[in-house]
């Protein structure tokens, strides 16, 4: 197993060694990828030439594409051209090459949806146009977007992906970022159907701080005691009340912790298998083992919260339960719940059944 892990690490190292900085290329090399703009926009804009005269197809564009640039001379000279270009075959003399764009777009944009809005023109957003020699088009100000879109509300709701492709590339103002309401409580339900939205900002190390119960170094409040305002999981003396919390929502524990996580501590604290009943650290009430008429009988508790039993007694064929409940012993008690039957073929094939049904 160690060799497999080392081989995997070596493979990953080899792959990574082939990686280089994307945007730290020499300028000449970068120029080969993204050629400079060649068209002179300024005189056209100064003379109020309609952008759509050359960029007509953008009206029907619903998404940005690096290979579709929406730039082409008009099929025939229109009035806007003839005002200056009196040479009727000027298009034949001017070669306009519009190469595909190599860089990724950082936003999503539906031009068709925008240009059909009343009062929206190209110049509403594109305050400047690229000129010959420019490697990149002039950067669009975000104010152009937020003039119409309620960015603050979207920001608060974390609704970024409709516009942004990937937010990890931006400086994240984490300190001021707030999801609405008790997001800690509701984030799970929102993440199940839209995990991709979460991943736009958060990589999984962020999730792991609380969710990685199996491999994490310690709970967040232990590592970050100074962050008192954070509503972190299991803060303070959780250990003294953990069995009460577990009684309130047993399934919640098992989302992160396997029963052996509980048992590893219970064993160290002499709560497992070494305690005589009625000892100070014994969690079981009197009459637990063999008083089926009393309300504190273990059978009722097992029906009520079997997860609590699993925190110490989930030991396969060596489980405490097997000794008394296995079929074939004198007067065995059926531990299955009323009406329980083997519905699924998966359960029937389970070898653990053989611990009792030998």
């Amino acid at each position: 197993m160690d060799r497999h892990l080392l081989a995997a690490v070596a493979l990953a190292a080899a792959c990574l060694s082939a990686c280089t900085t994307k945007d730290a290329r020499p300028a000449a090399e970068a120029a080969k990828v993204d050629p400079a703009f060649v068209f002179t926009h300024a005189p056209h804009l100064e003379n109020d030439v309609d952008c759509l005269a050359c960029h007509a197809s953008v009206v029907s564009s619903t998404a940005l594409s690096p290979t579709v640039r929406h730039a082409a001379f008009p099929a025939k000279n229109v009035d806007a051209c003839n005002g200056c270009h009196d040479d009727k075959d000027f298009k034949a003399k001017v070669k306009l090459a519009v190469p595909a764009r190599a860089r990724e777009f950082s936003v999503r944009m539906n031009h068709a949806a925008h240009l059909t809005q009343k009062g929206v023109t190209c110049k509403s957003c594109h305050l400047k146009a690229p000129e010959p020699g420019d490697q990149e088009p002039p950067k669009l100000e975000m104010a152009a977007c937020t003039a119409c879109h309620k960015h603050q509300a979207d920001y608060a709701a974390g609704a970024c992906l409709p516009c942004h492709v990937d937010l990890k590339r931006y400086e994240k103002p984490v300190a001021t970022f707030r999801h609405a309401g008790d997001f800690l409580k509701t984030h799970g339900s929102l993440a199940k159907p839209s995990a991709a939205s979460c991943a736009a900002c958060h990589d999984q190390t962020f999730c792991a701080e609380c969710h990685s119960a199996t491999t994490v170094a310690g709970k967040p409040s232990l590592i970050f005691p100074e962050e008192v305002q954070r509503d972190t999981i299991h803060r303070g003396d959780f250990i003294s009340r953990h069995q009460i919390e577990a009684g309130g929502d047993p399934a919640s524990c098992l989302r992160c912790h396997g029963p052996k996580f509980c048992d590893s501590c219970h064993t160290q604290q002499n709560l497992t298998g070494r305690t005589t009943l009625s000892a100070p650290r014994d969690p079981h009430p009197a009459g637990w083992a063999n008083n089926p008429t009393g309300g504190d009988f273990h059978g009722f508790a097992a029906r009520k919260n079997i997860v609590a039993c699993a925190a110490c007694h989930d030991n396969g064929a060596d489980s405490t339960c097997v000794g008394c409940h296995q079929a074939g012993v004198a007067n065995p008690k059926n531990p299955h719940p009323s009406g329980w039957k083997k519905k699924s073929s998966d359960i029937v094939k389970n070898p653990m059944c053989g611990a009792c049904h030998r």
Partner: protein, 450 residues
């Protein structure tokens, strides 16, 4: 020894990643020493022992993004977070191994996309987030396809992670879905009609299966939905059906209402079958089939620019253990937070009443106050919590614990924190510990990202 060599392999991998440069690298390091005493349980009639512990930790997190690469993967990123520790004193009980030197990889993966981010691949130690994954941690990979018309498909496979690179199958793993193979995926559909960002519908169906030595440990179908037609209202629902037991493991629905920009209300209902959260290879998984239902309500209100309040209440309908009878439990919590300038103060109250192991009710009432002030060069924080338990734990019903911390920035991304923690608590008796921490947080940009 196995732990040590595997940890070494993980660190080797990290070192190998160092030569690869990226447009953005975020690095975070926490080096800390905690010194204190821990109680060890005793047999009946014996006095519990006190162990002196002094673990030193290095917790490291590195994220490198926008790596150029020969495969032309878009947005290639390498994410790693892990830790190592050495016990200078006695071995602490939460170590997960009797070795003094230990550690683990919390997250570690490569992720990149093809075809204008329509295909995304991730390989390494990761979590299954979408659908009914329940944040299952695996060593493996996943593939996500963004298809036309709002459809998406994800698929994953891997080994469920166990603590400290130990056994992935069998009875010793801490992973709740312990096994030696996990696989599954999700098919989703999104409709975004526009109008406002977030408006629309997300629905999906997912499958998650875990096997342990060929035996089914978990085989669940999942369904999930998010529905937002009007800006203030969001409906979410999800369900998990156990194919192994042929019963619903979980049903949940929530209504989230952003009534005003300052008022947020959530209402929810959840039904769970806790026995179906146990591995189906557990002998205890066939001893119960009871369901629990929680009805929840919560409210958050930004009373003023500096003050926010929140309250939550839940009715817990629990099985009594006798036939189909049920008992009622209650859970309530409140929180007030005040912030002005560089001062932040807060208070919390909590209440829980549930059934105990036997016939007696159990529960607690808790209170917590906290505060932090950032001076020009130093910050101070304090945190005090107390709980009054309904039933005795170790002969005690009261728990009091508190933490004081102070820190200062050292410049260039470095800062130092000193913290002291003390408490009189039922399970750990009198306890105290001191912690010194050196923190490094930095983001490197080798180029402007357009």
């Amino acid at each position: 020894m196995r732990t040590t060599s595997r940890l070494f392999a993980a660190l080797l991998g990290l070192a190998a990643a160092a030569p690869a440069r990226a447009a953005v690298v975020e690095a975070s390091s926490n080096t800390m020493v905690i010194a204190g005493q821990q109680l060890r349980g005793a047999l009946a009639g014996e006095t519990p022992g006190l162990d002196t512990i002094a673990p030193i930790y290095e917790i490291l997190s590195v994220r490198a993004r926008d790596l150029s690469n020969p495969l032309r993967l878009e947005g290639l990123e390498v994410v790693f977070s892990g830790w190592a520790s050495y016990d200078l004193g006695d071995v602490r009980w939460s170590s997960g191994t009797p070795d003094r030197f230990t550690g683990d990889v919390t997250t570690g993966y490569l992720r990149g996309s093809f075809y204008r981010r329509r295909v995304t691949v991730r390989v390494g130690r990761e979590y299954v987030v979408a659908g009914n994954g329940r944040m299952l941690q695996i060593d493996g990979g996943d593939l996500a396809l963004r298809l036309p018309a709002g459809f998406s498909v994800t698929a994953f496979t891997g080994l469920p992670v166990s603590q400290r690179f130990g056994t992935r199958a069998g009875v010793r793993t801490w992973n709740p879905a312990g096994g030696d193979r996990a696989w599954g995926g999700r098919v989703g559909w999104s409709l975004a009609p526009g109008g406002f960002p977030g408006r629309g519908l997300d629905v999906g169906a997912s499958l998650l299966a875990v096997t342990d030595d060929g035996t089914t440990a978990r085989k669940d179908l999942g369904f999930d939905a998010r529905f937002q037609v009007w800006r203030p209202w969001t409906l979410t629902a999800n369900a998990t059906y156990s194919l192994a037991a042929e019963r619903w493991a979980e049903l949940r629905a929530d209504v989230l209402w952003n009534a005003t920009p300052k008022l947020f209300v959530n209402l929810g209902a959840k039904r769970t079958a806790p026995d179906l959260f146990l591995s189906q290879t557990s002998i205890l998984s066939v001893f119960a089939d009871a369901n629990r239902t929680d009805w929840t309500a919560g409210l958050r209100y930004q009373a003023s620019h500096s003050t926010s309040v929140g309250v939550d209440y839940a009715v817990l309908v629990e099985p009594s253990g006798e036939g189909s009878k049920t008992e009622l439990g209650h859970q309530a919590a409140g929180r007030v937070e005040w912030e002005r300038g560089r001062t932040r103060l807060g208070g919390e109250l909590s209440y829980l009443k549930v059934g105990g192991l036997g016939t007696e009710e159990n529960g607690y009432v808790g209170a917590r106050v906290f505060g932090r002030h950032d001076y020009t060069r130093v910050f101070l924080s304090a945190d005090l919590a107390t709980y009054f338990l309904k039933q005795e734990v170790n002969g005690e019903k009261t728990s009091v614990s508190g933490t004081l911390a102070a820190g200062t920035p050292l410049g260039r991304g470095w800062s130092a924190v000193l913290a002291g923690h003390a408490g009189v608590t039922p399970l750990l008796s009198q306890q105290f510990d001191l912690m010194a921490k050196l923190v490094y947080n930095q983001t490197y940009r080798t180029a402007e990202v357009k």
